[in-house]
Amino acid sequence: MVHFMEIKRIVKTVIMLSFVVFFVVMMIRAIIGSYTLTPTSTAENLRGLPLWKIPLVYMWDYAQHGWTCLGFAFTVAGLFSEFIPQSFMMRYMSSEKPISYLVATLIGPVFCVCSCTMVPIFAGVIYAGGGIGPALTFLLVAPANNLLADIVTIQVLGWRIALADIIAAGISAVVIGYAVSKTPWGKRFEAQFKKNQRSAASVELVKQPVDERLWNALKFGGYLAKKIVPAFILGLVVVSYFQAFFPENIVKTYLTGSLGVVFAALLSGPLYTPTLIEVVLGKALVDLGMSPGATIAWLMGQPYDIPNAISTSRIVGWKIVITYGILAFAFSVISGLTYGILVGM
């Protein structure tokens, strides 16, 4: 009987591992073969079609190329959230030392695929007396650099823009977090929670065998897919019409040059787009003529959309939200301009 159970475990592990390996291999193949995983339809292709057909053609275009990338992204997100030593990282993030900023920047991308974990971590760090600096860094870096968005950005917009976005978002999150923690209202807010420095917490996590952990990872990946894909599809419908009918000359006039960077940052900030859609919409804008610098500003302007700001303000108050909103805007403009200067407007 024991034997049978063990064989079952091994078989299960092998099946799950091959699933993971399949997506990794497909992804590597796509990168080496430099297949494009993004849609190839242009405004001209789409405009000639009947209205009802536009989203279908556009989605089919994504489905043909994009499924590898999405499958890979969801699998990896699941694996990371399961196999990263969480309690260890949490402890560092709530310490008062500078390392907490680094940890916040590094773990943001890993956890933050789901806002229902993000806000509790943010508030948890604050309430536990960890300081508003690292908490804000985490809050800003998490949606900007989340693993899913990064993988999709690399595929859709190219690794240069993706890398620039990741670095710029990381740096600005740290600077903004630090700056806000030094403002008088930031300090006052922090002081309320200093008393909360806690003693050792009673956490004794259950250990699980590898096959069960793998299963958890895949289940979580599936959960994310279930949550994100419907919104993603709806977003694609909207973006397909946008790509087909949005006048190119408006994009070429307002989303290029230094002014374009400012407009892109202004536009993307308050606009709430579900995870991944900002990348797809960004791609449509790039096809319509948005400059690289403006693209960076566009991608970086995500963390301060309105719903997010409202839920954060309940915890930290409006003053802090407005401070980091303005700083985040300034940083996306600066990063967009820097990138524009480096690669050409």
Binding site: C116, P120, G124, Y127, A201, V203, E204, V206, N216
Partner: protein, 92 residues
Amino acid sequence: MDLSKRLKVEVIGPEPPCSRCRSVKENAEKASARIRANGIDVTVEKVNILSEDVIGRYGILLSPALAVNGVVRIMGRVPSDKEIERILAQTS
């Protein structure tokens, strides 16, 4: 098994509960119903991950989390009712 022992299960998550926290709560209810059949007193309670009390006792957690008699046993995932039952059986 010590039948006089009491078990206190806390499902820890944000308020209002997210969908994953709700599944943990359901699974915990199922597991404790079976444990209760053995004559053990089990209570299941949903607590707010952001309350001072919870953070004071457990620190920063990933939601959803599950604590039994004041010790966090699971965080950041949804355990099955069978797994919760195993944990309860071990604790009692």
